[in-house]
Amino acid sequence: MHDTEPEFDDLPESLVARLKRTDRALPIVDPRTDRAILDGARRYFVAGRPRRTASMPTLRWALPLAAAAALLVALLFVQPFGPKTSADDVDGSGHVDILDAFALARAQADRDRVDELAARIVSLSSRRSEL
């Protein structure tokens, strides 16, 4: 105990324990006393200091930053002008071609639908070559 100043006299443990026991039996503090002190402190600080709100420089940048973030999200995740999806674009390549017919066949789909898709693709391709 108190070994920071060992040159000094100490008291026996039993006497120290007795002293502490006598002194530490504290009166109960009514919670209203705590509240009165702490509420008073809060009012004191609030009256004389800025509250924890966004300051004007922060607000000045908040709006442009939010708009830029929204634009970035739109560009990354939304493609309003991209290729339209088709039910015939089976392999998801963005356009309908003979590979979709193969993919449909691999998926063991309806035989008539595979034939119809293949015929349509061939006729589209021959029309394109005529052009």
């Binding site: 002293l19 002194d23 402190a41």
Partner: protein
Amino acid sequence: MWRSERRSDEQLVDACNDGDAEAAAEAFDALYRRHRDFVLRVARRFTRDRDLALDALQDTFAYLLQKFPPAGPGLRLTARLETLLYPVAKNSAITALRKAHRLEGGDTELDELPAPPLAEGAPIDAALARLSPERREVVTLRFVDDLSLAEIAAALEIPLGTVKSRLHLAIKDLRADPETKALFDP
């Protein structure tokens, strides 16, 4: 329920000095929670009265609050906060006691630590009561509040040598007292 606070007293005092209103109030709350019982103990030692001790508790923390802006210049801790709180709590307690005494028409001087109440069959209390108030105060700060000799000197605003001398003499008294001398040489 009060949540635990890990910041040191220095950090809490800094937040009271420089934080925004919310941060300062939170830091003050934490300081109050940490030191309330110490202040109450000190106040009770001098008043021996629950209500007067509670008055002194409020006055002590009101004094501490006024140290911080906007009213005060701010506080810089150079020692344990107890060394600042002790004299304030002591003076607040004595002031509260004097006020109550005046209202009751008493005229005794009340600058000293009163002797502890004697519990029936409590020889150690009797031995402590026989110490002079100055020696009892040093013994209490040292062994109950666990303050170092330098901190006691700061709290009582007396030279370190005086603290050492009072403590030495207090222990000598207790060694000689028939009620406690057996405890020194079991």
